[in-house]
Symmetry: C2
Subunit: 336 residues, 2 copies
Amino acid sequence: MRCIRCRGPAVIEIRRHNSALCKDCFPHVFREQVRKAIRRYEMMTPQDRVLVAVSGGKDSLALWDVLLDLGYRAEGLYLGLGIGDYSDRSGSVAKAFADARGVSLITVDLRTEYGYDIPTAGRRGARSTCAVCGLSKRYVFNRVAVERGFDVVATGHNLDDEAATLLGNTLRWQTASIARQSPALPARDGMVKKVKPLHRLSELETAAYAFLRGIDYVVEECPLVAGNTQLRYKDAMNAIEAGSPGTKAEFFLGYLDRGMPLFRGEDAPALTRCERCGQATTGRFCAFCRARAQILGERLEITAPRTSAVGAPDPTDAELASELPDEVLPVELYGR
Amino acid sequence: MRCIRCRGPAVIEIRRHNSALCKDCFPHVFREQVRKAIRRYEMMTPQDRVLVAVSGGKDSLALWDVLLDLGYRAEGLYLGLGIGDYSDRSGSVAKAFADARGVSLITVDLRTEYGYDIPTAGRRGARSTCAVCGLSKRYVFNRVAVERGFDVVATGHNLDDEAATLLGNTLRWQTASIARQSPALPARDGMVKKVKPLHRLSELETAAYAFLRGIDYVVEECPLVAGNTQLRYKDAMNAIEAGSPGTKAEFFLGYLDRGMPLFRGEDAPALTRCERCGQATTGRFCAFCRARAQILGERLEITAPRTSAVGAPDPTDAELASELPDEVLPVELYGR
């Protein structure tokens, strides 16, 4: 197998493109795909302060690596989830990467700052562990970005993540969530801009990139993720992809071209400020503060009765997920 | 396990409804689901002449059985595909059902009437066997219905079929095909009304109904269907369903409620008459006549140059499938 660019020995075959690349050309092509995504969706400018959500896994470190190589002002944010050794290793790996590249890594510890960790939240809260973890990440990333004056938050979602999320949203016709699956969500009241520069690249490709670039990353999966619905969607997509290479890319990139325009107008909730923390929310208290209060056994202060709150049932995971206009971050972001 | 209606011994468990039913109550509930589908989509009236596309498989015979029990004027149409013993058995089973119920069965043989059979078409044509088979069925069903004055064509597509087709259409964002996946397509120039009264019932449920009603049907799969894409989509849906019972129903019925309205306007091709056979088409010659000419090695007469035809490449399966506003009939219709 020969590299289609230089005819050297290929190290990776990309079936959906019916092509193969060598160890030098592949990282180049990978970077070009990121550059293309950034340009097409006007994700960031060289002047922007970019906050990369770094988990210590292959995707987020590959993303940070590429953004630095492309000359962006990319700082990292690592959120300590308190998942035992797994989190400890993830934090060390993220720190080592930052030190080696001489760039800044902000670290926030969920227990220190907010009084709980993910294993506790999974046991005590009404949400699934993955739901509350995703919610916590979205909240902290946005809050840190807003408070520290970043222009954009970049996450390492790859094509497999996006296809699996889109499949899950489509199987339930969650039209508001589908509408929000753009690779670039503009800033709006209290919500910083969010971008996904790796959305055109598969999980295999980000792993190959990280490997070829010699990036040390945490390979193991989050130990709490077993049975996660997102993983089932990935399995289903992989089974279809095996029979029809290119389906994943056709599904997600086809959605961006032909599907997304039809869903415009499905995502326009009015945002207000959470009475507890001041962050953006569609309700009175944001989903994060409600979930946190439940985990910590606190009551959110009720200052006046509101029609929508009286006798209303506890929000479901779906409602909760919809409160911040971004989908739940897939598990990969924290170490897969 | 007890029947939720009469507390007798249950014979079937319906996980997505978290319920179980006995051998007498299940057929009743099954019929009620069909009645509900017919009412909601105004599929037919007791005065309508209904043509049931009968394959000899469980779905189409269950459908015919229910429609007769509900008092509809339902006649059968069996299309001989020429697939060896498999077609012979399918034809006999359909005939036996019609005789036992004392109802009329129209039989059309593809080779006698149109000069080819499906195995030949699969070998000689440019389309896949399943594509040309689906095209042939759609064409003949519509043509017979139009020529013999039927008001509506009813097909035995079940929930599994519809979910798999919708998955395939959605994975490729074929928005026109998605828009057409209504359980009832109204009549329009040259196209008779098409309905799918079993769309709320799973494959397992139609099999159970046929079994409990003592209907003799062809159980074996079409021998030409191995590797069919639709089957891969069914496998993927079944894998997801196993982890999250109800996903299939949520996907297809959720589409009808929340998805379909967004796709309105995506399906409005102008129809004209095929210069060869007079049936509805979006082009000069209909997809059926083009495929048939190719199979038989004939040339369709070119009487005058037309811009769209000059130098135009041969249509793809997708274009071909889009020429008659109905999706390709799933393989089950012919014996699964």
